[in-house]
């Protein structure tokens, strides 16, 4: 895809997700009647621009991976819309989806199960190229070799099998496969959480280098805030199938507005052993996504919850330019927020 065609979206962002939902029915009894739904993803909205990385964080089971898969239509979304450069793809059939598959690629979490153990690395990386008939014969082989080189593997790797590689190397193979068709957006589904910390950094840096080189956009799903902070431009925080806060990296880490984000940030380990910090320990467990709490989903564990929180669901609101949060306590404007922050501070130190 040339630079010119990248820009012709008429201002529409590369990816636009609106009110995306994925509900899994729970069936019981003789007639398998639907007795409820698992609300894995329950109405999330965000956009990703060209060359941008959006980090999607949240604890396990909050639906962040499901969201990634629903966007790629690896699972059918229940409701909502997904637009690529302004064109809706969520209702497309498999055949209609085919041209979009070239633009949207995926890197999976587990580098061991995401590569077919019976195919050589060369065949794995060549598969997308063969599938779209991009290259053939000698040219195909050169292309695969170039891709492997690009992700820091040697050309000899082509003849080997995935089991002959380490976790980090296998993840590089997965990245090479995702890169093969020169996509615009790569959904990274916890691409480093299965790797050693030292290897994590290598893979993250590789992803960032590739972004610079090809102008890629990433939807980076992860549970590790430190990793997300390093790679993302903007970050969306998910809790129980909903996005609770969405803003640029700097303001999220400097002034988290949602109590859940606050708690998450306080759990990030600091490299300084002398540093003292208030740890916010949340009470209880994540409620079940089958019967999420009424009102604000976080109110059962929120240290600042008021009566209204359990009755009324807070809407996503732009509290400051570019800073979205779904919390009743932040309904007040930016100026008032400062005092609110002070009172919560006082409340906590008490």
């Amino acid at each position: 895809m040339s630079a010119a065609s990248r820009g012709n979206g008429g201002g529409a962002p590369l990816l636009e997700v609106e009110e995306l939902k994925k509900h899994y029915p729970i069936r019981k009894g003789l007639l398998s009647t639907v007795v409820g739904h698992v609300l894995a993803v329950d109405g999330i909205s965000f956009t990703i621009g060209e060359g941008e990385t959006l980090g999607l964080v949240g604890e396990s089971g909050c639906g962040k991976s499901t969201a990634g898969k629903a966007i790629l239509k690896l699972i059918e979304p229940t409701a909502g819309s997904v637009k690529v450069r302004g064109k809706r793809i969520d209702k497309l059939s498999r055949a209609e989806m085919r041209p979009y598959r070239r633009q949207l690629q995926v890197v999976f979490q587990d580098p061991y199960s995401s590569l077919n153990p019976r195919m050589t690395v060369g065949d794995i990386v060549a598969e997308p190229l063969r599938n779209y008939g991009v290259e053939n014969g000698r040219a195909l082989e050169d292309r695969v070799a170039a891709l492997l080189l690009k992700v820091g593997l040697r050309q000899e790797a082509m003849r080997r099998y995935p089991h002959e590689f380490s976790g980090g190397q296998r993840q590089r193979i997965g990245i090479a496969r995702a890169l093969a068709l020169q996509p615009d957006l790569i959904v990274c589904d916890e691409p480093v959480s299965a790797l050693d910390v030292s290897v994590q950094a290598q893979v993250i840096n590789l992803l960032m280098d590739l972004q610079k080189e090809f102008g890629l956009s990433y939807l980076f799903v992860a549970h590790d805030l430190a990793v997300v902070e390093h790679i993302s431009h903007r970050i969306a925080v998910m809790y129980l199938g909903k996005i609770v806060e969405l803003t640029d990296k700097r303001s999220l880490f400097a002034t988290p507005l949602h109590p859940y984000t606050e708690a998450l940030l306080s759990a990030v380990p600091l490299p300084d052993p002398e540093a003292k910090r208030e740890r916010i320990i949340l009470k209880g467990d994540v409620p079940s996504p089958i019967n999420p709490p009424a009102g604000c989903r976080f109110h059962t564990r929120c240290p600042y919850a008021v009566a209204r929180c359990s009755k009324e669901e807070p809407a996503m609101r732009e509290v400051r330019p570019g800073h979205f949060v779904a919390c009743h306590l932040r309904e007040i404007d930016g100026a008032a927020f400062a005092t609110a922050a002070l009172t919560t501070e006082a409340h906590r130190t008490k």
Binding site: K69, L72, L74, M97, R98, R101, R102, L104, Q105, V106, F108, Q109, D110, S113, S114, L115, N116, P117, R118, M119, E127, P128, N131, Y132, E156, R159, Y161, G174, R177, L181
Partner: protein, 350 residues
């Protein structure tokens, strides 16, 4: 670049090499395979081993190959334009007078009736009929060789066809799952409850079943044996990340099934094949024994068993059939065990 090992034109991966070594490691199975192959290859040339026509005739300076070519009796100075009966003393005398001929090891075909028995049929083993004759004066050894061949060929054909259908059906069910799977499974449950034997008896009263009819009829019911196994493998594999990755690459379903899922499902399928072959042979034998199998007069182990039962005063019939079946089925079971060992991932070369 590593040297690629090749065996019979196929790439030998280290895994394949380990499997071959494991197979060889099971001495009993390894020797069983060779003995069985030897017997099978010998029986494939049954016409050259047991036949009522000479292999080679030199008559008045010209060469004839009666096994391969049909010659009228007039060729050898007879009166009839029909095929020469080389067991006829007149023809024999004529050829001996004007040249010579070479007989196969056993000068009887499966349907040759020995009219020159010293005792009433069934005749006990003698220098002429090594395993005696059946109650119609036909040589038991000749019938055994032809019967072995037809049993194994029938078994192999049934195994191959029912595996192809079974694997395809299981693959479709397991890969697509959902409603496809549900309906197909219910159909199989109904279909497998049809009483096969009665159906065969009814059908054989309408048509005289020959080899292919019988194969078709048996196939209608035998294909189900592998379905559950393959279906389970596919149900498991369709959620592997590398299958998801292939879907995200826009690879079509048939290609994913054949390239990504089938190779992994084949291992468990292969270990079942010798046992299915065994079952197929046993089924044919029992049908022949009951008289609903191959048309009357065909050489078959089941018919020999039936004759043994009808002529208990001639124990060589029953004993021969029993020993042949026992040896053949045991060899196949031993081979099956060795194949299972070869594909056992936990087994190391001992």
């Amino acid at each position: 670049m590593r040297r690629e090992e090749r065996f019979l034109g196929l790439k030998v991966t280290p895994l394949t090499r380990r499997r071959l070594a494991n197979f060889r490691g099971n001495r009993r199975g390894f020797w069983s395979l060779w003995i069985f192959l030897l017997l099978f290859v010998v029986s494939l040339f049954a016409e050259f081993i047991a036949n009522d026509k000479p292999l080679f005739v030199d008559y008045k300076g010209r060469w004839y190959f009666p096994v391969l070519v049909t010659y009228p009796e007039t060729t050898f100075g007879g009166d009839f334009p029909t095929e020469a009966d080389y067991r006829d003393p007149f023809v024999q005398k004529e050829i001996e007078a004007n040249g010579w001929m070479v007989w196969p090891l056993i000068p009887f075909s499966y349907s040759t009736i020995n009219y020159h028995l010293p005792v009433p049929a069934p005749a006990p083993p003698s220098a002429v009929d090594w395993l005696g004759t059946d109650d119609q004066g036909r040589d038991v050894l000749a019938r055994l060789i032809y019967g072995f061949r037809i049993s194994v060929l029938f078994g192999l054909a049934l195994t191959v066809f029912s595996s192809i259908i079974g694997v395809a059906a299981g693959a479709v069910q397991g890969y697509f799952g959902g409603l496809t799977d549900l309906l197909f499974q219910r159909f199989i449950e109904l279909w497998s409850n049809l009483p096969t034997l009665y159906l065969l008896i009814i059908l054989s009263s309408i048509v005289q079943p020959n080899f292919w009819w019988l194969l078709g009829l048996m196939l209608m019911f035998s294909w189900m044996s592998l379905v559950d196994l393959v279906r389970a493998e596919f149900l498991r594999a369709r959620n592997f990340d590398y299958v998801r990755a292939a879907k995200a690459l826009g690879v079509s379903d048939p290609v994913i099934i054949v390239r990504h899922v089938l190779p992994n499902a084949m291992v468990s399928t292969l270990t079942f094949l010798p046992f299915i072959l065994n079952g197929s042979i046993t089924t044919l034998t029992s049908l022949d024994f009951l008289g609903f199998g191959l048309p009357a007069g065909s050489p078959s182990l089941g018919e020999l068993l039936a004759e043994g039962k009808a002529n208990l005063q001639a124990p060589w019939l029953g004993i021969t059939a029993f020993l042949t079946l026992a040896v053949m089925l045991s060899l196949l079971i031993f081979i099956g065990e060795a194949v299972r060992d070869a594909f056992d991932p936990r087994k190391n070369v001992g």
